[in-house]
């Protein structure tokens, strides 16, 4: 299975607002990835954590996006000054080296 719990499942926010999306891995994987899937596209990599540190944040689209994982388990993706183009499904998955990725339902973010 997906191995994570993401909350909220759906979030509607107004343009310009700040949002936080939470990812709670069920099992104790050291690695955690965030992806987002915009309508009509495949998922795109955002950021990868190894433990508490962001090992690769090259997929974050701009500085309005930030993610943390302070204790190496739960991770929060933070989006400031949301724009309509941020509307997407945000997915997080646990993982390790060359393991098969299993995606859950994610959080559907709608910016109006």
């Amino acid at each position: 299975g997906a191995g994570v719990s993401q909350t909220p499942s759906n979030k509607v926010t107004e343009k310009g607002k700040y949002v936080e999306l939470r990812c709670d891995p069920i099992s104790g994987h050291t690695a955690l990835y965030w992806y987002r899937q915009s309508l009509g596209q495949g998922p795109e990599f955002l950021i990868y954590f190894q433990g508490t540190g962001a090992a690769d944040d090259s997929g974050l689209p701009n500085d309005r996006f930030f993610a943390v994982r302070p204790e190496g388990s739960v991770s929060t993706l933070k989006i400031q000054r949301t724009e309509r183009g941020d509307s997407a499904v945000y997915l997080c998955i646990p993982g390790g080296t060359d393991t098969e990725a299993f995606f859950g339902q994610g959080t559907r973010l709608t910016v109006v």
């Binding site: 690695a31 990835y33 992806y35 998922p43 990599f45 690769d56 993982g95 393991t99 098969e100 990725a101």
Partner: protein
């Protein structure tokens, strides 16, 4: 970064027909997965197949890593096969290690009519 191209972009079938979906990638990979995204948006794992051939019921997949492509075969298609099929790859990171950062293709939209 690595490029992943899927073909065809759209495919319409009558129930019972067979089909082949293709995934080309631009560099060596050490992870390749096929996913089916159903109409409710759920990404369902079909195959983890960085090389070789696997079969699961009416579906099978072959990856020829040296030639940088993978094929997904669907036989005797059913209406429940409709949805979007994604191929995703990861490749060795600088330094020889890989952490499973996946790059997805744009997908093939499959519609199976009764």
């Amino acid at each position: 970064g690595i490029q992943v191209e899927q073909s065809p972009p759209d495919l319409i079938l009558q129930e019972g027909a067979n089909s082949t979906l293709r995934c080309n990638f631009s560099d060596s990979v050490n992870n390749l997965q096929w996913f089916h995204q159903n109409p409710w948006g759920q990404l369902i794992n079909l195959f983890y197949i960085p090389s070789g051939t696997k079969q699961n019921g009416r579906l099978s997949a072959t990856t020829v890593a040296t030639e940088r492509y993978s094929l997904l075969y669907i036989s005797s298609s059913q209406t429940t096969d409709s949805g979007v099929y994604f191929c995703a790859v990861s490749y060795p990171h600088a330094g020889g290690t890989s952490y499973g950062k996946l790059t997805f293709g744009q997908g093939t939209i499959l519609t199976v009519h009764p």
